[in-house]
Symmetry: C2
Subunit: 422 residues, 2 copies
């Protein structure tokens, strides 16, 4: 007997029904994003190791799979002072570092405002656990070169349309702005040098609750005054979510003296997206990635304890390999979570028929019948007729085949009797 | 200024027009293969290093990119006696080793005769050169579990239909059988122990010509008798290609006393594929891969000096990780070559309009107009109207946009004036 044979740890095979469903969902995402004016690009799965470890990937850099240099000698191994010296390439851990590299390579060939789609796998050497894989697909859209809030509006519109096309209802989009968070902490009295660290705690609000956040901040021995002010603000009535999304709600949700430009850009965004009741202003939405510089957003679904995707403005990053600032906004859909929410339809609507053939049927006849049925738009599978039909019929029905017919040596297309499968 | 920024050596980025064309070609291949009863599967890009180096990949095993173990210490590096010890995973160099592993993992969940589609990138650390890349896409179909020639017939039918759907005309399919080659060498008097090595030389017939092959064989100091017999056979009239494909032509192309079972299976194949004038019997077609055991075939295009794809029967290999023999036939299309033959049509037929907006147009109006146009089935891109329109219009036309309209603060859908782009 063979020993256990599995795909590598934390990575998955996809059998036909799952693969068909994944391709169908990807096709819908690709098509809606394209209609909304975005263009798909592709980069190699590997990037230079030095780019993957240039500080743009945050904690994910540590999770990158390294690719061994070719033609290494044993002496090279023994002279190395760190494993990273032996890797010149690595597998990408996100699609943002490759996008920054792509933009630096091809800027001259791209439109001034470039709307990119990237649908592709990424790899992270995380400890595998339920719903977390070492190879998974990300679906990113990014708008590069547009400073105005119109970029955020186009991203959110395209995302909302995609979720609708996939039949995923009831999502809300939580919105905030990094500038508001920072301005709010200043108003509360936190010194600017502490903002990043305080935000890491506030980012745990969903898990810890307001009391937990206040306790963690006090344990960290920040000055008591600003924490008291934050606690008082938390315990105001209606502090956490504000709906409908508009100037009044936004101002009511924030303390006095806040960054006015950030407020006005959110107000413009709310006006443009009109009466979208699924927009929610969340003044304590942080999103972990340190590189965001403005608007941030996240898609929430009522049935799930985690977000379906998120993004924001990250003006400092795309220009890093170019040596200059380039405005950019991005949104990443969590494909692996989305595909679980979409009802499977393995065959994508193709009418499917199986031809069961007796042992003495000439191959020539089988080919002719199969070709004629395919020409009429039917998906066809040939199956040698087994002695015991039942398991085969069950398997065919399970794979989405709707009909079977038995082919004999004297069959013609008009004498075939098609029988419906349950 | 930034320094040179490129994708890794031998790997490519795809800009929007190329990416759209690639996806369109992949979509056609996927759809024809599916109609012909094949099911798409997917495996992770990495496999265990030991499986990639189990002897199933021939020379390609040496070209595998190795992936560094995680959490290696400096002591591990210094204790290693070969680089391979530091890699537990590797990037696949073909889709056949992963298929063998996939089949071993999932056999119980798959139909008795399993028809697989795999469309995915593979990686080889080859010296980059024109038309040869370190990351490239393979399109494989395989039929596992079917001993009869009907499997070969289904593969060839599906491949021919795919090439037709892509508009690639004039291809011929060269066919031979490994058993005939071996039987022929026996008839000529080569001892069985020399067959593999003689076939390596005969495989160079396209490059060396018959004289070159004979010279190389004589240089290698094989016994003169068999080489003289082969030379006489080469110089018979009409030895190289035989058309129309049928029993008479096949028998005429071979010496007396050849493997009868192999002749009959080719005759059955020819009868089933009927009057397919693109079938060519080539008694000296070898195909490098040592693992073929029966029929072998190759797609040739008159405009190209290389094949567009090929395959054959390899009954010994799929069962390797299962510890038993499993019949299998496979066909691999050279996607990178095919995509170069297909005329680009970047937008896949979507009607595309650009809305050029003045600085004072509210985002709300832009969103409303864009949404209405998208709802009518149009692809829409927003563009801030530049002072100098010309470069933008040229770029839009080049990206497949057919129409532009200028949006002013008081525009409505009915007042927009659409202008055709050349």
């Amino acid at each position: 007997m063979a020993t256990q044979v599995n795909p590598p740890r934390g990575m998955r095979d996809f059998l036909p029904a799952d693969k068909a469903n994944r391709e169908r969902v990807l096709g819908t995402i690709r098509s809606v994003y394209t209609q909304h004016g975005f263009d798909e690009i592709e980069t190699p799965v590997m990037e230079e190791s030095s780019r993957l470890h240039a500080g743009l990937g945050g904690d994910n850099e540590k999770l990158a799979f390294g690719v061994l240099k070719r033609a290494l000698t044993v002496d090279d191994l023994h002279a190395a002072s760190t494993p990273l010296e032996l890797a010149d390439l690595g597998l990408r851990f996100d699609l943002t570092v490759p996008l920054a590299r792509f933009y630096a390579t091809h800027q001259a060939e791209l439109p001034t405002v470039f709307r990119a789609i990237q649908i592709a796998p990424v790899w992270r050497a995380e400890r595998p656990q339920k719903g977390r894989y070492r190879q998974f697909v990300q679906c990113d859209i990014d708008i590069i070169g547009e400073k105005g809030i119109i970029a955020e509006i186009e991203l959110i519109t395209a995302t909302t349309a995609t979720l609708a096309a996939l039949g995923i209802d009831g999502c809300s989009i939580r919105i905030n702005d990094r500038r508001l968070l920072s301005s709010m902490l200043t108003v509360f009295g936190f010194p600017a040098s502490e903002h990043a660290s305080v935000l890491i705690t506030i980012d745990k609000l969903d898990k810890l609750g307001t009391d937990g956040v206040i306790t963690e901040l006090r344990d960290r021995a920040y000055p008591a005054g600003p924490i008291d002010t934050l606690e008082a603000f938390f315990t105001r009535p209606q502090t956490m979510e504000f709906n409908p999304f508009g100037e009044k709600a936004i101002r009511k949700a924030l303390p006095e003296g806040i960054d006015e430009a950030a407020v006005l850009s959110l107000v413009e965004l709310g006006a443009a997206l009109g009466d979208v009741s699924s927009l929610v202003f969340d003044p304590f939405l942080v999103r972990g990635m340190g590189y965001y510089t403005g608007t941030i957003f996240e898609v929430a679904h009522p049935s799930l304890g985690y977000s379906l995707g998120g993004g924001g403005r990250y003006d400092g990053m795309i220009g890093r390999f170019l040596g200059g600032d380039v405005p950019a906004v991005g949104f990443s859909l969590g494909f692996e979570r989305i595909v679980d929410l979409v009802a499977p339809d393995a065959l994508g609507g193709l009418d499917a028929t199986a031809l069961l053939y007796e042992e003495d049927v000439p191959a020539q006849l089988l080919v002719a019948l199969k070709s004629e049925l395919i020409a009429s738009g039917v998906r066809v599978r040939l199956e040698r007729k087994p002695r015991n039909l039942k398991p085969l019929l069950a398997q065919l029905a399970g794979s989405g085949f709707a009909r079977v017919a038995t082919v004999r040596a004297d069959s013609t297309l008009s004498t075939l009797e098609f029988r419906e499968l349950a």
